[in-house]
Symmetry: C2
Subunit: 429 residues, 2 copies
């Protein structure tokens, strides 16, 4: 795993510690990053990595995630509080233009990750400023900027057709989805995350500005997690459906798990993706008003857990094991076979690394209802062996489908990390 994502608490974060153990350790101070245990799982398993409340002024190391490294930052980095996700379409043609764009973006992203402006300002005030300036005086806020190539980048515009990884293409249609073009696709996807929304916005805006004449924004989605400030106790977060949404994520501190689940290898079919990862993004609108009118019993049967405690149905505590064979006194299974937790768990053989955020985007003009939900993001070594079969199963049978609607979709081949002197995407050219 990447050195820059490994922290000094690695050793005390090894399994099989429970979340409560970790919380107890956190109480002794110094443990800035918590890694969560398992709760709901499936598509709706938000990250439960969280920072405990930091001291007054965060130190540079707590507040900065290095940009350069074996892997890109922002993949196994514990999730920040905010996301501003930007998909771009490339308008320039030719490989040279594209390489120059990645070179400029790399320099800017590395600077911003250190809390610097995207470049030196000129002394000629008759020129536009190099940086738009709204993050001056703010800290790096754990900013990460993660770049990936969409399947359309491998068409005939840039001479990259032969470089397309064999197992990298647009997702198949899934049952029930109602994709809206304005939330789909993109030649390039950029996941920008930070603990300050203004820092994340600044990064996207300056990347878009640097791209002028070479690429244009296709779609942008902001998102949030409940803030660490508001929940210093570090309990399992709840999604916008009100249920505790922990994670069955693999252990990001286990190089073995990450190599198995997340990092692509050279012999997977595309040598340039060695150390990279494939990202799936889904904008999942929640039918909030419908959910809010359903009974607590229906809601709990939908997730397969109790809302208040987060415990699996039939069990007592949040961290009790999910036993799909447990039956009530009438011989019926406690956890319905079509509940979200039952389907997402399956036989446990498929794993993905989730990194999702909630979103709230005003009201949907068509329905007059809140346009809110989940910006689902996952990373995996192979989309078609991991994300696709899991989502096909969920799309077909998940009880949750009555209450959610997939309206956006994109996939990106996220490059390996860049070394100083190199640039993001340099293995591709």
């Amino acid at each position: 795993m990447s050195e820059h994502n490994q922290n000094s608490n690695d050793s005390i974060l090894k399994k099989p510690m429970t979340r409560r153990d970790v919380l107890r350790l956190a109480g002794t101070g110094g443990l800035g990053l918590l890694l969560g245990g398992s709760a709901v799982g499936g598509m709706f398993a938000a990250e439960s990595h969280r920072k405990t409340e930091a001291a007054k002024v965060p130190s540079a190391s707590e507040d900065q995630v290095p940009f350069y490294g074996q892997h890109q930052a922002g993949i196994i980095t514990p999730a920040q509080n905010f996301i501003c996700f930007a998909a771009f379409d490339v308008t320039a043609s030719g490989s040279n233009s594209l390489q120059k764009l990645f070179q400029s973006w790399t320099a800017a992203a590395a600077a911003m990750a250190e809390g610097k402006q995207v470049g030196e300002e000129s002394s000629n005030h008759n020129l536009p400023p190099v940086d738009t300036g709204e993050s001056v005086g703010l800290t790096p806020s754990r900013l990460t900027i993660t770049f990936g190539a969409g399947p359309s980048l491998f068409d005939d515009r840039f001479g990259l057709a032969s470089k397309r990884p064999p197992a990298f293409k647009d997702l198949p249609s899934f049952n029930g989805e109602q994709l809206e073009p304005q939330w789909c696709g993109g030649d390039i996807g950029v996941q920008v995350c930070a603990d300050d929304m203004q820092v994340a916005f600044h990064a996207v805006r300056n990347l878009a500005r640097i791209a002028r004449g070479k690429a244009v924004l296709r779609w942008v989605q902001e998102g949030f997690q409940r803030s660490t400030q508001a929940d210093p106790t570090g309990s399992t977060p709840r999604n916008l459906l009100g249920f505790k949404d922990g994670t069955v994520n693999p252990d990001v501190n286990s190089a073995q798990d990450m190599n198995k689940v997340v990092w692509a290898r050279g012999n997977d079919g595309a040598a340039w993706m060695s150390g990279g990862s494939y990202m799936a993004v889904r904008r999942i609108r929640m039918r909030i008003e419908v959910w809010d009118r359903s009974s607590l019993k229906d809601q709990e049967n939908t997730f397969g857990r109790y809302r208040a405690s987060g415990a699996p149905l039939g069990a007592k505590n949040e961290f009790d094991p999910v036993d799909l064979s447990a039956k009530d006194e009438k011989g019926n299974p406690h956890i319905p076979a079509d509940s979200h937790v039952a389907l997402a768990r399956g036989d446990g053989s498929i794993q993905i690394l989730r990194r999702s955020y909630s979103y709230s985007g005003g009201i949907d003009l068509k329905t007059g209802q809140l346009d809110a939900g989940l910006l689902f993001i996952s990373y995996q070594r192979d989309l078609f062996k991991q994300f696709v079969p899991m989502q096909q199963k969920l799309a077909k049978s998940d009880r949750l489908n009555e209450y959610i609607l997939h309206v956006g979709s994109a996939v990106f081949a996220c490059f390996p990390g860049a070394s100083k002197g190199g640039y993001i995407g340099d293995t591709l050219f």
Copy 2:
């Protein structure tokens, strides 16, 4: 002023302390809320009230703003990090329904301000939950919920026509505005602010749910300030145009100033508004791409300040006085007469209390550019003596108009505070 908005640091926050004095005090600990000095002013003067980084678990008093009081919370309360603003249209008819809605909302808002759910859950799990649950386990996060009546509430539906304050009506058209119906108006406006976006979202969603059958959402806009976590030094915040955006706000700790500028009085024409305040809301889109292509010199002449330091043009330091008569060696004024700071300052006779947030709402589908800007909010005793003349002057001549576009607009008569046992709006009926 309201007791609940007055804190124990009142005495040390009295003028004529400078911002730096306050910062110095803050360094000694215990001073949780900073009040800022003056910087840009005008429509683009974001609140510079900020919390310093709190200790691990905020105490109840630091984290809670009492709901009940002489005035509604959320008006002179130091600005929280996030806003979720909701405008509602009433669908029920008759005064009784409306009173019941306000009674239900009052009970829910008071509970949420204490970090509680909106009501007790039933033991019958075949019923929908009373509260949607996504804020369970989160702290109150300084949640404030501020209710106001739009001019349309005083039509013939509720028998309130005779209660409309004489100086309360829809705003006149302003030069250059391009209002979009989906961002305008509303029978009722609810300003929800909190230091946790999930807490703010939860409040709006549950108010909408409680209103079912009586009122529907008309528009919702989320917003942010750069977070206290990312800027523990408390320097003047920058707006999305990259300029330091302090405030010429009156002193919220001065009862005299607040009575003069903010609080309506019984003899202003509507006895029921005594202790309330009139709110103006404008959704101001920034033409970010145009701004970003303009020279630094143009940008500085537009605001009338240097971007880097925030100092008035011709002066050296951010807090140097704005001298509109100062001239350069050629005899030209340092600060252009049509700059934002010159026009907003004027002769200093008009004051308003600003409480604005930045917003970022993905991209504008029509232009493909970022839909970002300012959710301007101000409170005043009389809209037509304060906000309207100031905005007419800005709309006519402000250099900033080249870079901004007013697309949304609403005004609300925000009720006086409710006493325990009473409800928001009870003086109206």
